[in-house]
Homo-oligomer: 212 residues x 2
């Protein structure tokens, strides 16, 4: 390989363009041009445009989900060791913090995360179903862990609140035009990022623990 893998360059370009314009609005020609690759390269390496999207999602989401899953296990283990029930905020942190830390890792990660934030509620089944299949086991694990943390609340209610949590986080993650409504200065610094993360954790923890 000369510089970087063509396959990697295609993934990077697709990731960036999907996050900026969405899946349906991004053509293979735009992707291959940005990746300085041949038009046929996508179908050669991945088979189809949809398979490229799957590869883009899996490349980063599988490790991230593994990380989040490990941290949930860690909270549960610590709870067992100390013979206590797991804390709601600790579980929320286990889920949220890796996501935002991951986002700061690189520019590519940041762009990727905004794809994920939108995929959840995408009107396009090709996008939505792909994401839901990747996140489904993790959500189930988090749901069960939250049931342990909030034993006085019914399972169904906890799932509904988890549903709201995902909405708040997904919205936060893809930084819609909403945030520009408040602040004129559009450049975001790490401080704002920490501010967002901590406030999100406070917000959803309070919502999850609210009296029934």
């Amino acid at each position: 390989m000369t510089q970087t893998d063509t396959k990697t360059r295609l993934l990077d370009a697709a990731e960036s363009l999907f996050s900026q314009q969405g899946f349906a609005n991004t053509s293979l020609r735009a992707i291959t041009t940005a990746a300085k690759a041949n038009l046929a390269a996508v179908n050669y390496h991945f088979g189809s445009k949809e398979a490229l999207l799957r590869a883009v999602l899996e490349r980063r989401l599988l490790p991230l989900n593994q990380q989040r899953s490990n941290r949930i296990d860690q909270v549960l283990t610590e709870a067992v060791m100390s013979e206590a029930i797991p804390g709601t905020e600790a579980l929320v942190r286990a889920f949220v913090e890796p996501t935002f830390a991951f986002r700061r890792n690189s520019i590519g990660s940041s762009e990727f995360i905004s794809i994920v934030g939108r995929a959840m509620t995408s009107a396009d089944p090709a996008v939505r179903d792909l994401f839901l299949a990747l996140i489904h086991p993790l959500i189930n694990k988090l749901h069960l862990a939250l049931c342990l943390a909030l034993p006085h609340l019914p399972s169904k209610l906890i799932f509904t609140r988890l549903f709201f949590t995902m909405g708040a986080m997904g919205h936060c993650i893809c930084l819609s035009g909403f945030s520009q409504m408040f602040k004129d200065n559009s450049d975001s610094n790490p401080e704002d990022d920490d501010f967002m993360t901590n406030n999100l954790i406070n917000f959803v923890t309070a919502g999850l623990e609210a009296p029934c």
Copy 2:
């Protein structure tokens, strides 16, 4: 006019198809076929596909926003009359309840609301900017009202929490595939709807009122 306005039938068909497939994935041919109108009818009545989207959004969002705005004013007036600060939950209800009530009005309304839920975070600027321009004044009013309700919290924090609130509500509103992860039975009844609405209000009220 024979039965219903062609213009109205086009709006109804576009509303339904946009909510099911998204804006980019819906062709004018699909819309005009569903509306039993001529292909040229869209460009005759509205000028372009994007202008049709604007008309679809404005038809229902302008009255809905007026309704939400009136209810916020009502809460603020009552607070002044009783020489108290407005309640957070009352303001949340003023914003959320008309939305869900509106959704139950008709099948068309339900489909429309899911367009709105997605528009907020859409990758397509044509969709997102259109929605943000329509909602901007209402969000500012709600933000100011919440600052009165939560005088001990800084304005910036309240806006961030309002941001999360919009995310939770938007996610809830377009009922993504998420809800199908929990329940096998997919038909939703009014009870589930009330359950969702009340839990959403509890959730975001607790989040907004959380200690700093």
